[in-house]
Amino acid sequence: MTAATAPGYPLHFVPAGDLLGILPILIVGGGAVAVLMWDLVRPRHQEVWLAGLTGLFLLAALGTAIGQWVANSGPIVVFNGAYANDRFALFADFVVLITALAVVVLSPGYLRRRGLAEGEYYILLLASVAGMLVLDGALNLIVIFLGIELLSIPLYVLAGFARDDQRSQEGAMKYLLLGGFASGFLLYGMALLYGETGHTSLTAIHAFLLQGATSGHIDPMVLAGVGLLAVGLAFKVSAAPFHWWTPDVYQGSPAVVTTFMSVATKVAAFAVFLRLFSATLAPYRAEWTVPIAVVAIVSMIYGNVVAVAQTSIKRLLAYSGIAQAGYIMIGVALGRPDGTQASLYYLAAYAFMNTGAFAVVTILSRRGEDCDRYSELAGLGRREPVLAGLMALFMLSLAGFPLTVGFFGKFFLFSAAIHDGQLALAIWGVLTSAVSLFYYLRVILKMYAPAADVGSLEEFEVASVSPAGTAVAAPTAVGPAVLVVALAGAGTIVLGIFPALIYTLLQGISVVHG
């Protein structure tokens, strides 16, 4: 298109319009290269500029995405239908980029406290974000796979970033092995789908399936491919029963990485899930809706019930994440516009509340080890009233109380489920929400109840001394980190009172399929 009219353009084989369409990805990818270079030439002990530079690139990408949202009203498909820059993708981009920004702000102080190297960290983070942005708009099986791998490989390294922490190493190894396994499933599913339909483009696959479905023909090979694809994606969103890696990896990984992994990965993987199922595979909806609903219900039950038994905060949040994946999966299982909208709303809500909760864990983490035991929360209401109050807010939001964004997340999901007549999904969602109160409120109780109620004074003393035996100094450089938590808290409340702020964005959303 543009290439023909602009001879001599340095990249004449790639139309400029196509490059514009993936501008946020280019900025983030370029950012990774720039940070890599800067890390080589920067003065010593100036690590904080790395975070600054990373943040700058993420901000630029976010600004570009916002500009594209405002500018395009209609869908934009680039690279011969391989990538869509539609509002669906842009919305997911927003959530990923904002989460990544929050993580970048949290990181310098945390990495310094735990004594972890910095340079590579930001490069890997940016690379992973680029992979997520690729996934948000992928319209081709190959691009989806590319995005998944670009997202995952840096995360394998990041999970094991605490090199002298055995649990971090164990988690990373587990993540790598199981992640590779899941990629295999994904690829096998893609191969089957390609072999049967003859296309890798989602548009073409959709057209093919539609043709078959209208004549009443359901292709078993396609179904097998779809099943394998779903397994691979369910692994990425950590939905039960494909969640086995989640608790260990969340617990082992450095807290900032867990923050990033638990929110951003889930958003990107769900973007693919939603696009693939509610758009491309819509003709086969009758076939996949029940299995997906079963995965949703199993996740809700398993995550919520097992979370009750946890004594580690990070594991608790991991199981809570599995349960939350189950809730978001309700929207996927419905496979209709209101379900998709509800899922996107929940993802945005989840970004606020889960980033906030993990950010509090990050701030409380000290030299050598993350804040992970329940007992470390005891008396937090007195020691850190602001942090404790915000943590309580995030717990209430995850539990779905009104006045918090979590309420409207569940509100839209359940209302969509009821409207579609999927009562089982709604009822299981409600029952498991009631179970979830038990562990979310226990965190609050731990923070606010007097020490005598929840454990001996001895336990409290032990908790305030780090394993290395050094007395705890006041955490350094938590100023910006607290700001992140406060902003997440503000978002949780404001969106909990004015749901229209996000809901109206979602109303005009379009999912391009081809």
């Binding site: 758009a279 006045l403 009821i418 109780l445």
Partner: protein
């Protein structure tokens, strides 16, 4: 209304909470005074609302207003009249949702057909003759709680702020006229209550709070699903998708759900209850847990025995009334036919509550648990009156809700005084307190007599009307319920006599008479202080006034009761006899 008096009333405590946060926590006296000022001002405003409501002739106010998309319903008359209505749009998806083209090549997919219905809800406030009384009661009890709140209470400022936030929640539940707004306040009120429960009280409070919250939320979440059910069923049948209560009440006369829900299990399909009946049960579950009715009551004894006195004054006094309020406001109006279908079930649960609560109260040794189970028994009467489904019963229920709030608050203050002086709640460790504490014994006597339904005191009026209504529904119910009245004499007098009469007995002094003598000489100072007197005297005065001259309350309550009975007796809109509003006392179909 020229100015939004309901919003002002609703958010005054919130503003007060923010103001109290600005006071340094060391200045306990200022915090307590500010708390009393805010709650007193709120009480003043609710009294203004009450008087203004009663001053407006009801017929002038009966119009269905403020329905954004109720065109097709404008001809239909809602039997309940709401006044002081305010409505602001909260979330309006309207028709623009059809822009959502979640698909591909312009509508070539079956997927495109399902345009989701719009989701609209609004900030809609209003009161009727039921809510105005409860608002005034709520504001009064919060003021009383502020008075009895000790200046030496730990973390006084936090307590005050949480208390005011609870008041916002309670007033919000009473004034909201939108199902989503109602649910919002209903659940949000739990947050400050939870923090009040875990922060103050005896060692068992963490467990009690968790139990209360899980019970309540589990029930409420099913109500949330039922709210969606009402929304989509009404929308599908009438074309009006709304969460707006007046519109929905009016629309119910258009809704006909005769078709039973069909289930299939292991190849057999069977039919069970129609959708309206399922929705009724979901709402009733949430409210029955809050009241609580008997199989759902087990959170209550723990919560009541572990709480502190100021908390219990408003928690037992008004929060439990919200369940009964919900049964009247939502179950009777939205599911008229199901209300009749389930009348025996609800009456049965009410009788079970009355008798079980009374018997359990007799078996308790902890004085706060006695009051807790007595409360279950008394609230059973309220539900009995509601589901008598006639004007007398409902009138009695409305009056009894107010009465019970006054009585239970006073009871908890009396029992709280005893607990705080002697650091025990065991009935058998105490006795003969009338001699050292004559003022308390005197006030306690009036409260006790009110609690057991003595004529010339307030509870008698309510119980009388409820029994009258129950008798019209079926004499069997009335006979069973009167057993509860007899038992009430027993457990209330057991509590009163045990504490105040007989030999003086104090914890730890049984074996040493000399020690008892020494202690009793110093007991003069243990009687109720000025603070408790200031809190108790207005409550006792109200018991006497409402008991001796109940006519105005009965007259105004009767109007509202008649409206709700009319709403519950609607069957279809096409029945002219019912639309005319002729609902004499107690005619059941």
């Amino acid at each position: 209304m020229s100015w939004p008096i309901l919003s002002v009333t609703l958010f005054l405590p919130l503003a007060g909470a923010v103001a109290i946060l600005a006071i340094p926590s060391s200045r306990a006296r200022a915090i307590r005074l500010a708390l009393m000022a805010v709650t007193a001002l709120t009480l003043g405003l609710t009294c203004v609302v009450l008087v203004a409501y009663l001053a407006v002739p009801p017929s002038a106010a009966s119009k269905l207003s403020g329905t954004a998309n109720g065109q097709s319903l404008s001809a239909i008359h809602s039997p309940i009249t709401f006044q002081f209505q305010e409505q602001v749009n909260w979330l309006q998806s309207g028709t623009s949702l059809s822009h959502l083209h979640l698909a591909f090549n312009e509508g070539n997919s079956a997927f495109n057909q399902a345009a989701p219905p719009p989701i609209n809800f609004s900030y809609h406030l209003g009161v009727d003759g039921l809510a105005v009384w409860l608002m005034a009661l709520a504001a009064l009890l919060f003021l009383v709680a502020a008075v009895v709140l000790s200046q030496r209470e730990t973390r006084l400022r936090t307590f005050a702020v949480l208390m005011l936030l609870s008041e916002v929640g309670v007033l919000g539940v009473l004034t909201s006229l939108d199902l989503i707004l109602f649910y919002f306040f209903w659940e949000a009120a739990l947050i400050p209550l939870y923090f009040l429960m875990i922060g103050w009280g005896d060692g068992n409070r963490g467990r009690a709070a968790l139990k209360f919250i899980i019970y309540t939320v589990a029930g409420s979440l099913f109500m949330l699903l039922a709210i969606f059910g009402v929304y989509f069923i009404t929308g599908a049948q009438t074309g009006v998708y709304t969460f707006d209560l007046p519109t929905l009440i009016a629309a119910q006369s258009l809704v006909h759900t005769t078709q039973a829900t069909t289930f299939s299990l292991f190849g057999h399909s069977f039919s069970l209850l129609n959708p309206q009946e399922w929705l009724f049960l979901a709402f009733a579950l949430a409210f029955a847990i809050k009241v609580p009715l008997v199989p759902f009551h087990s959170w209550l004894p723990d919560a009541y025995s572990s709480g502190t006195t100021p908390f219990l004054v408003f928690f037992a006094g008004i929060v439990s009334k919200l369940g009964a309020f919900g049964l009247i406001r939502y179950n009777l109006t939205l599911f008229p036919e199901a209300s009749h279908t389930f009348q025996p079930l609800m009456l049965g649960l009410a009788i079970a509550s009355i008798l079980y609560g009374a018997l359990a109260a007799l078996a308790q040794t902890d004085i706060k648990r006695i009051v807790g189970f007595a409360s279950i028994s008394h609230l059973g009467f309220v539900v009995l009156g509601i589901f008598a489904l006639n004007v007398d019963g409902l009138n009695g229920a409305i009056i009894q809700m107010v009465n019970h709030g006054i009585v239970i608050a006073a009871l908890f203050i009396c029992v709280g005084v005893v607990e705080s002086r002697f650091a025990t709640r065991t009935l058998s460790q105490l006795g003969g307190l009338a001699r050292p504490m004559p003022v308390l014994a005197g006030l306690f006597l009036v409260v006790t007599l009110a609690g057991l339904g003595m004529p010339l005191l307030n509870s008698f009026v309510g119980e009388f009307l409820i029994l009258l209504g129950a008798f019209q529904a079926s004499p069997v119910w009335a006979v069973l319920a009167s057993l509860g009245v007899i038992l009430a004499c027993w457990y209330m007098l057991r509590l009163y006599q045990g504490l105040t009469q007989g030999e003086l007995r104090l914890p730890g002094t049984e074996a040493v008479p000399e020690q008892l003598q020494a202690v009793s000489r110093r007991l003069g100072r243990l009687d109720v202080g000025p603070v408790e007197v200031v809190a108790l005297v207005p409550l006792v005065a109200l018991m006497l006034v409402l008991g001796v001259y109940p006519a105005p309350v009965i007259r105004y309550g009767r109007f509202s009761a008649a409206q709700y009975v009319q709403a519950a007796n609607r069957q279809t809109a096409t029945d002219p006899a019912l639309a005319s509003g002729r609902t004499a006392a107690g005619s059941l179909p």
